[in-house]
Subunit: 333 residues, 2 copies
Amino acid sequence: MKTITITDVANHAKVSKSTVSQYLNKRYEYMSEKTRKKIEETIEELNYQPNIIARSLKQKSTFTVGVVVANILHTFSTQVIRAIENYFYEQGFHIIVCNADDNPEKEKNYIEMLRAKQVDGIIIFPTGDNLDLYQRMKSDQFPIVFMDRTIEELNIATVMLDNHLASKLAVDRFIEKGFENIAIITTSIIRDISPRIERIQGYKDSLESHGIPFNSEYIKTVNANEIPIALSEFFELEKPPQAILAGNDIVLNEVLRYMKQHEINIPYDIAVIGIDDVPYASFYTPTITTVNQPAIEMANLAAELLLSQINKTGKEDTSVHRLKPTLLSRNSC
Amino acid sequence: MKTITITDVANHAKVSKSTVSQYLNKRYEYMSEKTRKKIEETIEELNYQPNIIARSLKQKSTFTVGVVVANILHTFSTQVIRAIENYFYEQGFHIIVCNADDNPEKEKNYIEMLRAKQVDGIIIFPTGDNLDLYQRMKSDQFPIVFMDRTIEELNIATVMLDNHLASKLAVDRFIEKGFENIAIITTSIIRDISPRIERIQGYKDSLESHGIPFNSEYIKTVNANEIPIALSEFFELEKPPQAILAGNDIVLNEVLRYMKQHEINIPYDIAVIGIDDVPYASFYTPTITTVNQPAIEMANLAAELLLSQINKTGKEDTSVHRLKPTLLSRNSC
DNA sequence: CGGGGATTCTAAACCGATTTAGTTATGGGC
DNA sequence: GCCCATAACTAAATCGGTTTAGAATCCCCG
């Protein structure tokens, strides 16, 4: 199959490429009504579709943005991706989704490929280990927005959760219910990934603000597959925790699985709150109290920040936007 | 910031563009060891990244494929996307994910945009309402693979579930447990979406093969938000069903939510099986028996089929591949 | 009827790579 | 020292659009 190019259209319509190009760009004032019709018909007849690659080469803009998520397995990631896709669809942009698998090497590879492909901007959940790369994009004035995680020293626009508040909401709730032995468990914090650290810090601060000294035995940061072990260790303590805060949805799944397996009753034997809402929270038995991230709002904000960098509208915003989580109060605590 | 092009590299290294291009394409036999080193150093020094857009224009290949899912809200879609992304990452391809939202108009828009962007191929969960578009891609010999749904008359390579078997596994299990009044509920079947139809057909056939006449009152196809109503209607029947087959994960969620709200006990008051595994199935109370789609296997197969069309390796495969589901036997039935 | 501005249209350069055909340099054999 | 094959390199065309500067045509008016 021979592909139809602008030259074919021009020849058929007996006008120059230039005029066809003007037509494609809707600059109708540069041609007579008659030629406009003629071109229109020819395009229809030949079933012509402009080659965006060729256009992009000249215009240096691809109407495509990259989204590099650290780990696509989190519900939060997929919610955000979906909302970003929606937002950009409205704007006539495509998004290229990349999953870095929490692997800085892979992240680097993706970022370089995206830039080579001349995407107009990138939204990235940074793994945190490619400072030079981030730095370069920044100094190249390449549009970039960080999501979920910040890297303080870089001054890059960031959208993330108020993680400190997220933990506080949960801990306050536990305390309100009369628990004092409160544990927290999150996935591993290699590379100082900010949300995990902040959630732990928020947890500590909230305890202290209630006059409860925190106990390091109640804090676990482990890989997903080691969660059952960590939980067992909790229950072997002299004073096992009365409440557990699960640091994200994957941890929550593992916690619930463990409790089910060991026939530990929630909330009577132990209270549970999860950070990140999960689809089944409202009909699980018991229903699960969660701290919800406003994923769609966050995604929209990130998309908006990126778009304004791309269009160079408004002055540069390099601030860290922290959105507020909400406690979805249910029965697991 | 000025972008560095191949010309800059050529000038700096005091060789021609052609030679630099040969270098970029690793055709080192066309140059001396010395110039190779020289170019290497220059590229390093200038921090040069080739512009893939320019390359694509000439080579007519973008190393990018499109994935158009009908509805990204299904767990199955996200599992498949993830696996496809993985597969193509290994091959040095990017994927552009598009969510058609079950809307043929949007699907059309996306397909046209993807083709305009010169993607090398498309994997699509067809909404089923753009026959002319599918037809054109086919006759253009544009690489395309259907996923999840088939459109018989088009002869396009397809990867989908053996939906008939999926229903049969569930119905057989229900019958084995002694139930005869078995209902099925799926989301709406506008546009003859094949999996839903096949699941219902499989349900009917299995009942009949056991000598149970099927009762049309036990079959509901409704939008997600009308599921509670449909369920209520079941329970108002003279003989309410003893077992319900949920046609996909979203339906299953709604069914479980309803049972929870109305304090209907699974499996004592009613047995439930879901098609599509869900993350919480193994620790819900009760654990949920599901019919699982081999999502990763299906994704890999689809990716492989697409890649072989792109590379024109092997002869054309236009067959419909139906993979077998498995029953994950748990306690909800 | 000629001048001049507006309208309509086009030729050619350009974007940044690849590729082909061809040129120049090198060195070995006699 | 000359010839010639091979190695090393390059100029120019090309991909399919956009854009700019300028050319051709039209029309109105004095």
